[in-house]
Amino acid sequence: MRLVARFAREQKKYFEIITVYDSKISKERVNKKTPALISIAKEYPSAVWFERKITDDFGIEILYSNDRRTLIHQEHFPKDSYPMRKEYERDFEVQRQATTSTVKKYQGEVIGPIQAYHLDAATFQIFTQNKEIIHFDVMAFYKYRAIEKMLEGLSFEEAKPMVERIYGASSIAYQIAFLDIQMQASKRQLPDIIKQRHMFLLELERVIAHLDDLSVMANFGNFPEGSFFLMKLLESSKELMKIITGHRFGFGAIGTENMPIEVDAVYDCIFHLEEEIKWFSKWLLTKSSLWKQFKGVGMVSKEIVESFGLVGLMARSKNIDLDRRKESKLYTENGFFISTEQEGDSASRFKIRLDEIEISLKMMKELLDNKMFPFFLGTPIDGEYYAYLEGSAGEIMMYIALDEGKISRFYLRDPSFLNAQASMEILKKNKISNLGLILKSIPLSFAANDL
């Protein structure tokens, strides 16, 4: 069984621990007087961060865990304050404690939280020997905005603009997951014609994300002309997103109303992008020096993929065909197929991104439509709802519990939450000079991770 997520929720008389696997959802009750929970980290290494977060959020002690460090709360956070408990107001004032940073007490090099290796704020602690990484630690949650708490007590309409802004580069994916939950709550089915529009935008978001990653990776691979070329395509794709949605990141684009699309002009744009990427892929076949630099770098083993429950690009780079899109008829009927590689290295992740851009563009041509369909959402019914979706980095899981028409618990698991943990294993034994390339080859967003 693959662990998808593990999180807690406060009920009136107890805490509820919800553990989501790929084949079942299990729930445990934890009493409020002496809240404690048995760790599952021995079996599922990625449970460590889920469980450390549960402790920070709710003050639930994790038994039989060998990592009890705080995850979200930094040194200044007051002890015995558990902000996801209902008694804490959304904007209660944190009385900062005098800080004594523990990070710098250890040896090794500490980079961050403001740093050149990653666009997001995050701290990395690196230990090297003979220019080789022997230990790597990710210290995240600098960007912790408490989105989960922010959305509590809000209606779907009130929460929507915030969900759009959790992680800009995955805004479309998060909006679709959010709408999926809205649909489930109102016991309605979205018409295929609207789904098709959303899928089109999701694929465009994937193209943008992959082009961005590829252009930076090409630069790390000493291929500046490749990077230059990909950046041009990236800009054209972002402008295409703006033409269709009115926004370069598609904020506010996913709803039940469709904006009209200039089908012919958009088709021409997609066709042009497709031709350019095909030409580029052909050229790359002759760039043996580039592949040489990527080959064997940042290797992920099958064991790590399976034990950390890695999804998306990370799984597919090791020949595991995990992709939520294969479950949708609308995808399979419009030319979708899964691209996988064998090696699990940076070269594999580069190749898959290139393939996926071609597949997405091809599907986008099929999905492009300008039909309009009036559709209205019904009144939401209280309950618990789960949405799963294949974003550009991999499977996204969103959970919402609705109580009296308002959100009583929001939870989101982005692939970054798994990838950040696995990156500590993946980076071991790699040359320090390849740090930037490997970090870019692994889909890792701290905006999506830190929430």
Binding site: Y144, M150, R165, E225, M231, K232, R248
Partner: protein, 168 residues
């Protein structure tokens, strides 16, 4: 030999400059001249993500792509505040980033100029205040210039930078 020749043809095609409209050309010229008149060599920016969704950083990164090409106009990103002419701040200021932002400001080269990018730093975006965020006014900046948007588009950032430079 044929392989080398083909590679050179491909390289030339890849490096073909994009077609840029008149407005952008004018913005590029204006910012280049403004930088030349107010700064010694180039305008050095230090970017601090204080808790953003990542969109503002991506748009800042876009400024250096072949379309906007700000590096050619004299704009440079630096990685230590000591070297920077301006500190750019993106995102809401989280409690967890507060100390890093304050420290970066302390180390910033005098006259310590700050520009907030996007609606989040001033809490003007749809995100609501939570316990994990703090007021940017807590950091005692001497002066702050603001470029609004969610996120501001690349042209908006360039226009904002030009307006700011004119005030220097």
């Amino acid at each position: 030999m044929l392989k080398l020749l083909q590679n050179e043809i491909n390289r030339k095609k890849a490096m073909r400059p994009p077609i840029v409209d008149e407005e952008l050309l004018r913005l590029q010229r204006t910012i280049k001249n403004a930088i030349k008149s107010k700064y010694d060599s180039s305008l050095k920016l230090y970017i601090v993500d204080s808790g953003s969704c990542g969109a503002c950083e991506l748009e800042l990164q876009t400024l250096f792509n072949p379309f906007y090409n700000l590096s050619k106009q004299g704009v440079e990103v630096v990685y230590t505040p000591k070297e920077a002419d301006i500190m750019l701040i993106t995102g809401t200021l989280t409690e967890n980033m507060y100390e890093s932002v304050e420290q970066a400001y302390r180390e910033l080269k005098k006259p310590k100029k700050v520009i907030t990018i996007g609606d989040c730093p001033l809490m003007e975006s749809p995100l609501r205040k939570t316990f994990s965020m703090t007021d940017i006014k807590r950091v005692s900046f001497s002066s702050v210039y603001h470029i609004s948007g969610c996120p501001p588009e690349p042209r908006g950032i360039i226009k904002g930078l030009i307006k700011y430079i004119e005030t220097v």
